[in-house]
């Protein structure tokens, strides 16, 4: 008998990954203290990972009963280009944050994604990205005092100069 909801593209692969990861983690949990005692440091990790693996198998059984969804395509409904680009963009952001600093990295990140997603003019994308970075900077860096890497922009000197400008006017 087949289940009513069809199986989505890639669901079986994800399911197998879940089972493999759970079994690996169970093996790792066993390595903590073996079957030493019920109160050992490894007891709860072993129980939880065994439960994960068991659930993974039950989900697999359910998935195998489902008929595949032929109307959906993996490149359109599961991993479309914007999702892949966004994952790459976040990774690039993390890599560039320390050397370039918060302001240029955030500007490039927003500019790239906004231009790509909206398909609007460069002027719009540059204005939207610059405005957003300015707003986030004021709210989080200046008001909430969140520390972010300075990188190539001499932020503290600029802020000191602005402070001096207003302080000097007194």
């Amino acid at each position: 008998m087949q289940s009513k909801t069809p199986r989505r593209p890639g669901e079986l692969v994800f399911n197998l990954f879940v089972i493999a990861a759970s079994l690996f983690l169970f093996y790792s949990a066993y390595g903590i203290a073996g079957f030493d005692a019920l109160s050992s440091a490894g007891a709860i990790p072993m129980m939880t990972t065994a439960l994960m693996a068991l659930c993974g198998v039950l989900i697999l059984r359910e998935n195998l009963r489902k008929s595949p969804n032929t109307a959906e395509k993996i490149e359109r409904d599961i991993l479309p280009i914007p999702v892949i680009v966004t994952i790459i963009a976040i990774t690039a952001y993390a890599l560039l944050l320390k050397p370039l600093g918060f302001i240029p990295t955030s500007f490039l990140f927003l500019l790239g994604l906004m231009k790509l997603f909206s398909g609007r003019s460069w002027v719009f994308s540059v204005a939207a990205a610059a405005g957003s970075v300015a707003l986030i900077y004021v709210i989080f860096r200046l008001i909430f005092t969140v520390l972010m890497p300075q990188g190539v922009v001499p932020e503290s000197e600029i802020l000191a100069a602005i402070g001096h400008l207003f302080g000097g006017a007194k």
Binding site: L38, S40, K98, S118
Partner: protein, 498 residues
């Protein structure tokens, strides 16, 4: 008594704290109202910026965001037929038809006033019940806490997703993530794979922002080109006659909201649906049929989901057990600020409890003020294109994950959990149990070990303790019932009765 009043009034009398509650409520309403930005996402991203603050300002902002976010979800449910939060699903059933009839302003007005009533009832019950629940909870045995933790995860798992097995998997995964690092009792390494960076465990914030911020933003990328819907906003403030007419239903729905909210694992979404069902049964002759724009269909769920906020704070503050994913995040944040929600909080730091009650009351008042004003600006915010909004959410997520420990490792963890959460959402796994699992991991682990050690490492002795204690037995039976109710056997019993 004077201490209670003094601590309750702190957020009202301190201008800085008052402004933070107002700011949080305002941000919560607007973020919670934007389609695709849930209250969980809003709370998880914004809370991360408060970790370097003192405890009182941080709590003031967090509570404002929470209260505003729960209410904000109703706005898009009415205007766009897209609930901003699961608790606003029932609101859309009658709210959107009202908007289509050109009564969006009235619908928003009724929603706001009734949410205020509901919120108030929830807070009063919290203030009245929490001290007694806490006094009772001091007598809980470790096995009771263990069972309560299991019950909470199971309830969220069984109610929030399409499959109990997937819910249990997600909860177990959360427990596993929460156990990563050095074991606090024996200093054994758990899932660290020899990496010193993992000995302190994985940042709860990175998991939370990844699961709720990044994964939700990635899902939203599928529907970026969805065109916005524009609504005409007319009169907003409801007449006194309207309020008086729906007050009895509002009070009944508040009672449902508080009770459902107070149960571990059940939150505003279930409370709202149950109250909607109740309204359908008790309203014999509605002016407009339910599902076509009945005002009763708006009053009941909105009162209930805001009453559930106060209700959800009862197990959270007195037992340390979160009611849903948002309260799980709140508990995590309170831990980071050095507070330990649980029965001892009322004994050791009662002032914090009354301060929190004060913040909730203030946030409820601000919710009423902001809810009835600034609708024109609000409509513009809701119409903001997703192509601009999603990159902004992602940037805020990255900054939030980085800011907690000034660590890029946390950004990578956030991305990893974001991608994992994205696939889990696509394939029907609910993420609420993961966060609940992470939060409850320590509680479950500690109490399991205490319970089994006190029973001399003997499972039969532990089981004997469970079946001979009325409280433990009740909790144990509840756990068993959740499993049985999801089996074909239960379906057969129900069919047989019908």
């Amino acid at each position: 008594m004077m201490d209670v009043i003094n601590n309750f009034l702190i957020p009202f009398l301190d201008l800085k704290l008052l402004s933070l509650v107002a700011l949080g409520t305002f941000a919560g309403i607007y973020i919670g109202a934007i389609p695709g930005l849930s209250v969980t996402m809003a709370v998880s991203i914004l809370i991360s910026f408060t970790f370097s603050w003192d405890v009182l300002p941080a709590i003031s902002l967090m509570i404002g965001i929470y209260m505003g976010g729960v209410y904000g979800g109703s706005r898009t449910a009415i205007l766009l037929n897209i609930p901003g939060a699961p608790s606003a699903i029932a609101t859309a059933l009658d709210g959107f038809p009202m908007a289509q009839r050109g009564e969006a302003g009235e619908a928003i007005g009724i929603t706001t006033v009734m949410s205020f009533f509901g919120g108030l009832v929830g807070i009063i019950v919290l203030a009245a019940a929490a001290p007694s629940v806490s006094a009772f909870a001091i007598r809980f045995q470790p096995r009771d806490y263990m069972l309560l933790a299991v019950l909470g995860i199971l309830l969220v798992g069984s109610l929030s997703g399409d499959s109990l097995v997937k819910g249990v998997f997600a909860g177990a995964m959360g427990l596993m993530i929460g156990s990563i690092g050095l074991d606090p009792l024996t200093m054994d390494q758990r899932f660290t794979f020899g990496s010193t960076a993992m000995m302190g465990g994985i940042s709860f914030i990175a998991v939370m922002i990844g699961m709720f911020g990044v994964s939700e933003a990635l899902i939203q990328l599928h529907s970026m080109k969805t065109p916005g819907v524009k609504q005409v906003i007319n009169r907003i403030v409801p007449s006194f006659g309207t309020i008086r007419k729906y007050l009895p239903l509002s009070l009944q729905s508040s009672a449902i909201g508080v009770i459902i909210g107070a149960l571990p694992g059940t939150g505003g979404d279930i409370a709202a649906l149950m109250a909607y069902d109740h309204a359908k049964r008790v309203t014999k002759n509605p002016e407009v049929p339910f599902g076509k724009g009945a005002r009763e269909g708006l009053v009941a769920p909105e009162t209930a989901n805001n009453a559930a906020v106060g209700g959800a704070f009862i197990p959270m503050m007195t037992l340390g057990i979160p009611g849903d994913s948002v309260t799980a995040i709140m508990i995590g944040a309170l831990f980071i600020h050095g507070l330990h929600p649980g029965p001892m909080l009322m004994v050791e730091q009662p002032h914090m409890f009354w301060f929190i009650v004060g913040c909730l009351t203030l946030a409820n008042v601000f919710m009423l003020i902001f809810g009835l004003t600034g609708i024109k600006i609000f409509v513009k915010v809701v119409e903001m294109p997703r192509t601009v909004l999603i990159p902004l959410i992602l940037l805020l997520s990255i900054v939030g994950a980085y800011a907690v420990n000034n660590s890029l490792t946390d950004v990578y963890w956030m991305l990893g959990f974001g991608v994992l959460g994205y696939f889990m959402r696509l394939y029907g796994y609910s993420l609420g149990p993961v966060i609940l699992g992470v939060i409850l991991s320590r509680l479950l682990d500690d109490n399991w070990r205490r319970a089994i050690i006190s029973d001399q490492e003997s499972l039969p002795r532990l089981m004997h303790g469970i079946v001979t204690s009325p409280l433990s037995l009740t909790l144990f039976l509840a756990v068993i019932f959740i499993f049985v109710s999801k089996t074909p056997l239960w379906a057969m019993i129900k069919r047989g009765r019908a």
